[in-house]
Amino acid sequence: MSAHWLPLLILLVPLAGALLAVANRRSAPYLSLLAALITLILAISAAWWVERHGILRGSAGFFSLDALGALYLLPVSFVYFTSSLYAIGYLWARRQEQGPDAAPPRYREYFPLMNVFALVILAVPLVSNLALMWISIELTTVFSAFLVAYEDRAEALEAAWKYVALTSMGAMIALLGVLILYYATHSLGQPATWNGLLRAAPQIPGPILLLAFVLWLVGFGAKTGLVPMHTWLPDAHSQAPASVCAVLSGVETSAALYMLLRLYPVLASNPGIHDPAAWYMTAGLITVGSAAFMLLQVHDFKRMFAYSTIEHMGIILTACGIGAAVHEVGTVYQLFAHGFTKSLCFFAAGLAGVVFGTQEIAQVRGLISRAPAVGWALIIGTLAIAGAPPFALFLSEFEILYTGYASGQYLATGLLTAFIVLAFIALAYQASRIAFGAPATDAPQARLPIPRSSMAAIALAIIPVFVFGFFLPPALGHLVHQAAALLEVHR
């Protein structure tokens, strides 16, 4: 079979998974899991092809996958698979928390929505047209709203409403920016694709490009969780099932960030835009700094990981500004590794919630003595997301900071270092409170066995977080460098 069918197949498989899950409630989790596994295999095949042959153009010109898109596709498909596995037992355990007579989980609602949600995230790096990319990002909100509100409580609905209102508002602002860029490329005789935009970039009038960029930064920034448009993120993550949080935080927020990153070389190629790196670094540092301070006062461990997502989105944006004129390996590796690592954190946090029946940090002590596997998974996840060695994010953060200092960008890199250290201290402190120490005498007792499918998902999620910290397969390493080269502009 020709590789040119891969992009279409990657989208058709989750769609088939969704339709089959609607048709058969009992088998919905297993059909979804199968769809996710096939998608993962297809995504790896597509990434492999791109690494060896360059841009993969899909059928009818609607699809196009380059190295950066392929690199982003890998964590998306992996988290889609592990999240589907995790959800099977986790959703059941959440129901059991409500008592032995509780109704079974609503698999027929959850799994079709999760499949379609994954489909639209997968579409972002695969479709070639800017307007279709915007539609994909807009639809991620639409299809995940009911996943956030899955537990159907007033708090969950409040979180879902804030999520939909803020991110849809952002999407409308971004829409105007997308269409302005559409005009700019078309009027210069180029197609509205990344490559067309890059070719047109030097001739686009500066004020038009600047207006489009500001609309993108505010619009996609709301979806990414950039401060001050971040307020939906902790609320949605505290209420959504952990399997949804893994996808939301691990790969959905970075879909909008992916759009912002890809715009950077377009801005940098235009003589009318003065120092675009400064825009990225400023927006990024405000976000990282705010998230680091918010991590110190957090009281709910799922909100803690949500603030950590805000922090990482800021790190990636800052890194893009720092590395732009040098090299962007740290930026793209951070984008890649964050997806795997954050899903592990939410998987562990979800099971900690099942063990204790609460997400309040103050009420949770001694997780390791009560559920050792979950406790250690939480510690590993927290250390990994905080950037400790030997995990994947340590490599990317080290690379980003090294690039910054080596290129003489002392102020931005110094601030970034300080905020990363502050966030590390906050995360390590909160995780140690949860994991160690004697369980409080009045703490809720463990009531439920840990679901095996969820533990299996955690075991799978740990592998890339750990292995990519010290070993990258040569093909993947090459893909990372190819992806980084797409963001670099050496003037």
Partner: protein
């Protein structure tokens, strides 16, 4: 500059004026039903602008935009809202909002200036889009007003109106500059509107079922302590 008749420009200018007035109506009207009617009339104005531009620029795509806009926003969205929040809209409900109407109008005026000054530097370069001088600033102003409406209102249906006028604004601005958008993107964008309205409508219905009201301002349990 592409040559277009002064009649077409005058017609589009009149439609743009009505578009702004109806947008202001959505933002400041105290009753939910009035807000919905203003939105429907604003969508009619968007349809009219698309028809004027379709004729003046000989752009068949804009004819599709006009038809799809009319069907989705003037017919489908009100039906979805009647189903999702019927009593809340049709029971002459007053809308809570964070600012008084005079203060809201003042903020709207400031946002209109911001929108104009944001777009003004781009206008000399839009020589291939003769209607952009009217539509693009008007569209951006409506996007800002819509965002302000979402922030201002404490009622889910009224906030949805804010989102929808933002979308109207984005389309009002963009039809003047991208009347040659690929048909697939146009259809997908058009399908997106009723899907968004349907999903938000479903969410409103669930909020009403669980909390007994569509007042999202009353939902205030999630925050840092």
């Amino acid at each position: 500059m592409v040559a277009v008749s002064s009649t077409a420009l005058a017609l589009d200018g009149s439609v743009a004026g009505l578009f702004v007035v109806f947008g202001l109506g959505v933002m400041v009207s105290r009753q939910m039903l009035a807000s919905l009617y203003f939105f429907m009339w604003q969508s009619v104005a968007l349809t009219a602008s698309a028809l004027v531009l379709a004729d003046a620029l000989d752009a068949i795509n804009l004819l599709w935009v006009a038809i799809i806009t009319f069907v989705t926003k003037v017919i489908a969205v009100p039906l979805v809202l009647r189903w999702a929040a019927g009593q809340a809209i049709y029971g002459r409900r007053e809308v809570d909002q964070a600012l008084s109407i005079p203060a809201s109008v003042l903020v709207a005026a400031v946002l209109a200036l911001v929108g104009w000054f944001a777009v003004a530097p781009t206008l000399p370069f839009l020589h291939t889009a003769p209607f952009a001088h009217l539509n693009l600033p008007t569209g951006l102003i409506m996007v800002l007003w819509g965002a302000f409406t979402v922030a201002l209102r404490r009622e889910s249906v009224a906030q949805l109106m804010g989102l929808l006028i933002m979308e109207n604004g984005a389309f009002f601005g963009s039809i003047a500059i991208v009347h040659n958008l690929a048909v697939i993107a146009e259809i997908a964008a058009a399908v997106d509107v009723p899907i968004v309205a349907l999903v938000i409508g479903l969410l409103i219905r669930n909020i009403r079922r669980v909390t007994g009201s569509t007042r999202v301002g009353a939902l205030d349990r999630l925050h840092e302590r």
